[in-house]
């Protein structure tokens, strides 16, 4: 019943603005879409902070936030309110421009990435034909921002955090892209909608299980989540790259972490969990809701990982990336190629 809710709204808006020239009409619709995405990300980030605290409480045999609002739902809102009121301390040795630019820019890559993510049937803001490439290219920009924050802080802990961030990105972007290659070989397209359409019968998690594992591990590492949260590494680096940030500047980094998680989970959903396709023919649940459910299941797994595992050491992180994930992803491409050749030769 709600299948075409959002598509319907978009179409309704288009016809409402029917009197206007086509270009202006499209521009307004696009603007509305992007604002909707912005709101979606921010509301999700707020909710995810709450969810993380509840999941943590669940793992640790506690109750978690339960005072502000019903069931503590407004806890994050209250926290953000508090952080807005706090002073942003800029100490005298910082590179002030870069220092303040970093928290302002931290949401930009995430927002840009969301433009190509299909949240349901026909529900991508822009369905680019190089969607996946765009996503990977823009997604890795966030490292630059962590590096900016780490460098401009003029603090050795932050510097170490920033350095680690770059090293980690370089070593984990590679297996991530190589893992996706297996999927791309099968679909033969970089377009998001094509990739999802190819999974109508079999999700790629079943035909590409190794690629899924590599991609999942690499994307946990890309969002700097435990056990790969080396750039923050509270017990070693105090707070890593954002040690010197306070008030809302800190909150921006904090929320961006969750927005990045959202991107990673959305990517896992699109590439391996069949995007918005309903499993077991449960079509009565709208496609966008399916997308959401799958995304949040991944999110829960990532959160549970964080509250269970200790942090890996920096040399072990590099070793694992280069010595395990990269060879494994190359082997996966090889196996996929042979598999596809045999598949075509037999001609099933």
């Amino acid at each position: 019943m709600f299948e075409n809710l959002f598509v319907g709204i978009a179409n309704g808006l288009r016809s409402l603005l029917g009197g206007l020239p086509l270009e202006i009409n499209e521009a307004i619709v696009m603007l509305v879409k992007l604002v909707a995405i912005l709101v979606f990300i921010l509301v999700n980030a707020l909710w995810l902070v709450y969810m993380e605290r509840k999941v943590a409480a669940f793992v640790q045999a506690r109750i978690g936030p339960n005072r502000v609002g019903p069931k503590g739902l407004l806890q994050t809102t209250a926290d953000i309110g508090k952080l807005i009121c706090k002073e942003i301390i800029i100490h005298k040795d910082t590179d002030k421009l870069v220092f303040m630019l970093a928290p302002m820019l931290v949401f930009v890559p995430t927002l840009m990435v969301f433009a190509v993510i299909p949240f349901g049937k026909n529900m991508a803001a822009i369905d680019m034909n190089i969607g996946l490439l765009y996503l990977l290219a823009i997604g890795s920009l966030s490292t630059l921002i962590f590096w900016m924050a780490g460098w401009a802080s003029n603090n050795k802990y932050s510097l170490l955090g920033g350095m680690r961030s770059v090293a980690q990105m370089v070593s984990y972007e590679l297996p991530m892209v190589l893992a996706i290659l297996g999927v791309i070989m099968i679909t033969g397209s970089l377009k998001m909608s094509d990739i999802i359409a190819a999974q109508e019968h079999t999700w790629f998690i079943f035909s590409q299980p190794i690629a899924f594992l590599i991609f999942f591990i690499a994307s946990v590492s890309e969002c700097n989540r435990a056990p790969f949260d080396l750039i923050e590494a509270e017990s070693e680096l105090v707070n890593g790259f954002n040690t010197e940030y306070s008030g809302m500047a800190f909150a921006m980094f904090y929320l961006a972490e969750y927005a990045n998680m959202l991107v990673s989970c959305a990517m896992v959903t699109i590439l391996f969990l069949g995007g918005w396709y309903a499993p077991f023919g449960l079509d009565f649940i709208p496609s966008w809701l399916w997308f959401f459910i799958k995304m949040y299941v991944m999110m829960f797994i990532i959160m549970q990982l964080r509250w269970t595992y200790p942090r890996i050491r920096v040399d072990q992180l590099m070793g694992f990336g280069w010595k395990v994930l990269v060879p494994l992803s190359l082997a996966n491409i090889f196996v996929t190629g042979i598999g596809m050749y045999i598949y075509r030769a037999i001609g099933w």
Binding site: A56, D229, A233, E234, R311
Partner: protein
Amino acid sequence: MIRTQEYNLNFGPQHPSTHGVFRILLTLDGERVVKAEPICGYLHRGVEKLAEARTYTQFIPYTDRLDYLAAMLQNWGYVMAVEKLMGVEVPEKAEYMRVISGELSRLASHLIAIGTYSLDIGAFTGFLLAFRERETTMDLLEELTGSRMTLSYARIGGVAADAPDGWLEKVDKFMDKMPTCIDEYDGLITGNEIFQARTREVGVLKPETAINYSISGPSLRGSGVDYDLRKAKPYGVYDRFDFDVPLGKNGDCFDRFDCRMKEMRQLVRIIKQAIQQIKEIDGPVIGKVPKVIKPPVGDAYAEIETSKGIIGYYVVSDGSPKPYRVHVRRPSFINLGYLDEMLRGYLVADVVAILGSLDIMLGEVDC
């Protein structure tokens, strides 16, 4: 040519993983430690000097503040030295109460040690799980002494009070539950692949070095040296209990951690035996001690095994009601002696792992 530059990093005193206000001045080459200079004294309160202006009994609460996580063991060491000086006989029941409350204190301290160690390695959940059982321990100690951390339970010649009704049964019940809880920590922390990768072969302490540097406690036993005062030179009634001294093999961070874990299982055994034996004893919990404590001129040294190592109290009397001099051999401080060489060549993340595995208590380090 590529040239790297060494730089200094002030690790502490305001740092989440120095377990208080400890400071290490690290010289780093990238992330690798070239030199480490431990700097302590940020929590110095002059406890030894304060003792000279207090009566013998008044000094007991100050010993709480040395190692506030295992306060009873600190009290015990001090009163033992004074008892030795005065030649006071401690009633049997008091000895048992000291064992029970002392071992509960050790449990509380070890729970913090393993909990914060898991936090140092980066796993938050282990910390909170350990605190769950510590809460019960604290509740039990509160019921016994009226205080949760700074117990001041020992008195010269005995202990402050007998156990309240039903307290021993409660402790017994808790001790029944404890092994399953320790299994849970083992499953979550000790058995974890990443935890083992982080702690094995890190910060190796050779048995000879450990002995040469006078390191004691689980940090010594982690290196495989079988020396536990409770077994080697039994004080109190420790010779009446059947327990093992867990030993490590390689002397790395993991072994030191694992020693604490296994020691918790042993202390459960000790407490259970003590409860069984105390039920058959009747009598006072404090011996015949004069109102004003005036030990004869002389000196005495007593040492006991605390959760951190061997704590020794050296008390000198000039015949007045106040000690002439009190000196404390603090295990945490002495265990730090080898820190510099131990840290060299390891990464920043290992600094935290090694420091945490020594389980220092800043109140004791700075005294």
